[in-house]
Symmetry: C2
Subunit: 368 residues, 2 copies
DNA sequence: TTGTAGGCGTTATCAG
DNA sequence: CTGATAACGCCTACAA
């Protein structure tokens, strides 16, 4: 009758069984140093007998290498992060590393704790989609401890580490320009943001001109691209064209999307800056009985499965989180292996995919 | 000029700085044993000064507890597993544990390796969505090493560990019965399966009667429920009513779904046994120009976001992978804490959600 | 080629 | 209450 956790056999056990010294067994099992052919076989046989398998924790402690990395994202249930995680895991697996996952829910305090825990667990690298773009002491700390960090989705200029991003501002600029070219002038914007870091939008030189304050998070950059496109076209913007929703609050978000569509200034198109917003605005248009694109054009972000399943198919700015995850992983392992070139900011391309949810303004003028 | 990885301060460093013995510093920092109030404060101050943070690897080695668990699923990019992972992580986080993620891609060999690696990393528990339902030596091994395992999505009766599943057979039975009650008789089935373990379908007592051979994977159970429902209604089944696709092979899967819809025996409804198949059959119907539900009724599995966004909204059997993940986590931690009751099989309820993609057979008889 | 001894950073045990 | 010391399992000098 076994009691307690049955102890796993150790090199010492194998050594005893094989009648050799611990070091010899270690050499045979670890595949380092010189071992006689017969000795090796005897040891290996003994190991098989006992069901020996190395204790990686002890090995890590000795060698200082845990062969694990950490990923800190806001929510693995979000397809963006799920795909990114997949990319990271794949690269890690190729390198013989495991990946520890933590969810920050876009909350700085949780992210800080997560990073601390991962560092204490001696991960050899960290991929982080940072919740805050202003507070990054915890990430600097990682760097200070010699643990490479790669930023995903957002860059923190003040931090000395690689990042993998897309050119959010130009992607949004191109998207909104497309709408403008179709003849739209009154274009709404819907963005999901986290509760703590609301961007500030304030008047800027001229009637119907605004600027976004706040650090360069993707949503802010996309809003900036949107504003720049409108300004370039000389299209004035109503302040309440820009609606920000908090992803958590379902009811509020629903109401906000509905309100945007029914604004008194009658938008003829809406640009959604992320997959969450895209879903929301589509749903709002659908339940509100809006004909897309006849009454309202929709242009979203992220090319999720559903965008080609719905009617009409949704035009989107596509990015590839899978690829971003992979690139992040590759940068990370380059650093782990000692690459110490200056920080690199990798900007992956986005693609504007025009489908059926965006139409010319003319179409919308059909009488009711 | 620092060179190499800057060494993190250790208890010894803190002890020296505070002018106490290592053991004392350890007690103050680890919060165990007796320490004088002033001594504690001195140590804590020293620790703060030096930026000390415990080396969890060393702690794990000493204490035998790594405070980490592992999850082995087939693909984190699949929303089912992403949600489940989220549930598991949440519970783990509550318990102060981290979660290591590995993807098996539904391949037994990868799963075996992953389990081995995780065991070597001394995880204290494992949640596994097993790729194979016949080979489970690697999981038995985990059990033998005293590492609790909880099975997700599929149960392995021969294995002594808890499982969290849904009642696949009855869920499918109810779903197909619903279709039968609507007047459908020629009901097709689409299932995604992995390449290696194709279920065998062979004739069983009577014309138009079949049985599925193979262990009780969800897909097989669902097929069984489908057959049972049809038999109960006395509806005969054509062999090629049952189409299995391999999730990887996009082109093949597309063709198979199309073929099913265009079968010479003219199905009036299709039951899809998983989210992948549901997506496929919907797409096939859409591109094939089938009117749903007028020409073909669709009933799917998994209540993903898109099922209410498309037109018509899809009727589905809903399960909650998030909840399943949580339950799995809770069972796992119960075991980690020493619960040694006999194995428990937790069957979570499914819900048949009828939406617009399922109609009565009558509707379909409209002339072309 | 093989064996011996020490140490990685913690925690546990035992005296003082 | 505090201090010295051993041990977790492995790896690496160094000696034989």
């Amino acid at each position: 009758v076994d009691q307690g956790r049955p102890r796993r056999p150790t090199v010492a056990d194998v050594a005893r069984q094989a009648g050799v010294a611990v070091a010899t067994a270690g050499r045979a099992l670890g595949g380092y140093g010189y071992v006689g052919e017969q000795t090796r076989e005897r040891v290996l046989a003994a190991a098989r007998d006992l069901g020996y398998s190395p204790n990686v924790v002890a090995r890590s402690m000795r060698s200082g290498s845990t062969r694990s990395i950490g990923f800190v994202g806001s929510d693995i249930a979000n397809p963006y992060f799920a795909e990114a995680m997949r990319g990271i895991c794949d690269v890690a697996h190729l390198e013989g590393y495991e990946t520890i996952l933590t969810n920050s829910d876009e909350r700085l305090d949780l992210e800080q704790r997560a990073v601390r825990t991962l560092l204490d667990k001696q991960v050899e690298g960290l991929v982080v989609a940072p919740a805050s773009v202003t507070h990054c002491d915890h990430l600097a700390e990682a760097r200070a401890e010699g643990v490479p960090v790669v930023l995903l989705d957002r860059d923190l200029p003040q931090l000395d580490c690689d990042s993998v991003v897309v050119d959010n501002e130009n992607a949004a600029y191109a998207a909104v320009t497309h709408l403008l070219k179709l003849g739209h002038e009154r274009i709404g914007l819907l963005a999901s943001i986290n509760a703590t870091e609301q961007p500030e939008i304030r008047p800027a030189g001229g009637e119907g001109r605004w600027e976004v304050l706040g650090a360069d998070r993707p949503s802010v950059e996309r809003i900036r691209g949107y504003l720049r496109a409108l300004a370039a076209y000389g299209a004035p913007v109503s302040r309440d064209a820009i609606t920000c929703i908090v992803a958590d609050r379902t009811a509020e978000a629903e109401a906000a999307a509905r309100r945007l569509l029914n604004s008194p200034w009658r938008p003829t198109a809406v640009f959604a800056t992320d997959n969450e917003s895209t879903r929301r605005i589509f749903l709002a248009a659908k339940t509100g009985g809006f004909k897309v694109p006849d009454q309202i054009s929709l242009l979203g972000f992220d090319d999720l499965d559903w965008t080609v399943m719905v009617e009409p198919q949704i035009s989107v700015v596509a990015q590839s989180p899978l690829l971003m995850g992979r690139m992040a992983g590759e940068r990370l392992f380059a650093r782990i292996k000692g690459d110490d070139q200056p920080k690199r900011r990798i900007v992956l391309p986005t693609q504007l995919i025009i489908r059926a949810s965006t139409g010319t303004r003319a179409e919308q003028e059909v009488p009711e």
